[in-house]
């Protein structure tokens, strides 16, 4: 069994019209046994920046702490928050530092740039960086997520429509994955607010 599928989990992010949404499932397990159904994999860095991290649970949490540390120091020193594109580069650097003993994770970064443009980026476990024009996926259900997103996503979605779209895509995809599921957490980020909702899907 692959180390990145040891704990399971799925993350997806989508672009809308001047908004982004990012969502994850809530399962935490050890191979086939589910241990928790409230495990959060999407973390807020600042008002307009989130990162979702799929993969080995311990690395998900360690990265979250390291990235929050770096972001807090940055914002103290530079008296500004990090733009998502800059943060994505930072994630890439931090992952590459561990090129020959990597963190077993796949992050998806989602946020709004300073001028309000949506930004989504996904990297692999050693920091290879790709900006996503429409949506980004990661985790044990990634192939199902690709299919679901490709079908449901369309350009110009408003925040409410985007919420529906990303929720349906995530729930549909994790239903086909034994290692993901047990509910979902969805964040929709717009210029003036963030709406967070918890969903109940098939609880298995």
């Amino acid at each position: 069994m692959s180390i990145t599928s040891y704990n399971g989990g799925a993350v997806v992010a989508m672009k809308g019209d001047k908004c982004v949404a990012i969502a994850c499932d809530r399962r935490f397990g050890v191979q086939l046994q589910t241990l928790a159904t409230d495990f959060n994999r999407v973390f807020q860095m600042h008002d307009r920046l989130f990162i979702g991290i799929a993969g080995l649970g311990t690395d998900v949490q360690t990265l979250k702490h390291r990235l929050q540390f770096r972001h807090k120091l940055f914002s103290l020193r530079e008296d500004r928050v990090m733009p998502p594109s800059t943060f994505a580069r930072l994630v890439s650097s931090i992952l590459y530092e561990r090129r020959f003993g990597p963190y077993f994770i796949e992050p998806v970064i989602a946020g709004l740039e300073e001028d309000g443009t949506p930004f989504i980026c996904a990297t692999d476990l050693i920091g290879a960086y790709e900006e996503c024009p429409e949506f980004g996926v990661a985790g044990t259900a990634d192939e199902s997520l690709f299919g679901a997103c490709e079908s449901y996503w369309q350009p110009g979605l408003q925040p409410e429509e985007l919420f529906e779209t990303i929720s349906q895509a995530l729930l549909a995809a994790v239903d086909r994955d034994a290692l993901s599921g047990w509910g979902a957490t969805v964040h929709v980020i717009t210029l003036d607010k963030i709406i967070t909702r918890t969903l109940k899907g098939r609880m298995d």
């Binding site: 530079e78 800059t86 930072l90 650097s93």
Partner: protein, 235 residues
């Protein structure tokens, strides 16, 4: 100085609370050629006298104003070789930042890191402070900036400032001439006039150096021909 109790560090406090080596470093700066900088609404200009000891020196090979990043430049007053070490360290600092963030380092951050290096040399064993003050000029997403960094490592943001030999007169002159709504072209003229005030001999394009950065965010050093054009305008 030879006392074994204090010989591990040149920068031990004197009874009056001063760090004497830093004071002396500032003297070295004050003995150096005059440099000045002026921040305009749409850019920054820095300038310096390029006084060479003899006519035999190839003045085109002497570069006192240096580029640190594509949008930041620096000029110094004091000991030239010391400034080269700092320029090297600053450039490396800026590139490290770019490697991690893929963003050009903001001017204030570069100043902060350079100042931190200068401060290190006032608190480490076996080293002496840098004998230069730097004027760093840049244009980033927050607009135009002009900073002065001293041998102690303290740094200040200025609207207009001068360092080196003639600094008090130059600053008085600048106080009179500086206006908040000055544009880059006016600032260049004012910089030249300020240099002219304390200049010994005939000012020309090959014995002063001028560096500018505008809203295009590209720092560049003016060629002697361009400097001569500005000098002609000022006459």
């Amino acid at each position: 100085m030879g006392d074994s109790q204090y010989s591990f560090s040149l920068t031990t406090f004197s009874p009056s609370g001063k760090l004497v080596q830093i004071e002396y470093a500032l003297n070295a700066v004050a003995a150096g050629a005059t440099s000045l900088g002026i921040k305009a609404t749409n850019g920054v200009v820095i300038a310096t006298e390029k006084k060479l000891p003899t006519e035999l020196i190839d003045e085109t090979s002497v570069k006192k104003i240096q580029l640190l990043t594509e949008n930041t430049g620096v000029v110094y007053s004091g000991i030239g070789p010391d400034s080269r070490v700092l320029v090297r360290k600053s450039r490396k600092s800026a590139q490290s930042y770019y490697t991690v963030y893929r963003e050009v380092i903001p001017v204030s951050q570069l100043v902060r890191e350079t100042a931190a290096v200068m401060q290190e040399f006032t608190q480490s064993g076996g080293v002496r402070p840098f004998g230069v003050s730097l004027l760093m000029a840049g244009y980033d997403s927050q607009g135009p900036h002009l900073y002065q960094v001293d041998p102690s490592g303290s740094y200040f943001a200025w609207k207009a400032s001068a360092i080196g030999k003639n600094m008090t007169n130059a600053k008085t002159f600048l106080e009179k001439r500086y206006t908040e709504d000055m544009e880059l072209e006016d600032a260049i003229h004012t910089a030249i006039l300020t240099l002219k005030e304390g200049f010994e001999g005939q000012i020309a394009g090959d014995n002063i150096e001028i560096g500018i950065v505008g809203s295009d965010r590209k720092f560049r050093v003016l060629t002697p021909a361009e400097v001569n054009d500005y000098l002609a305008e000022v006459e």
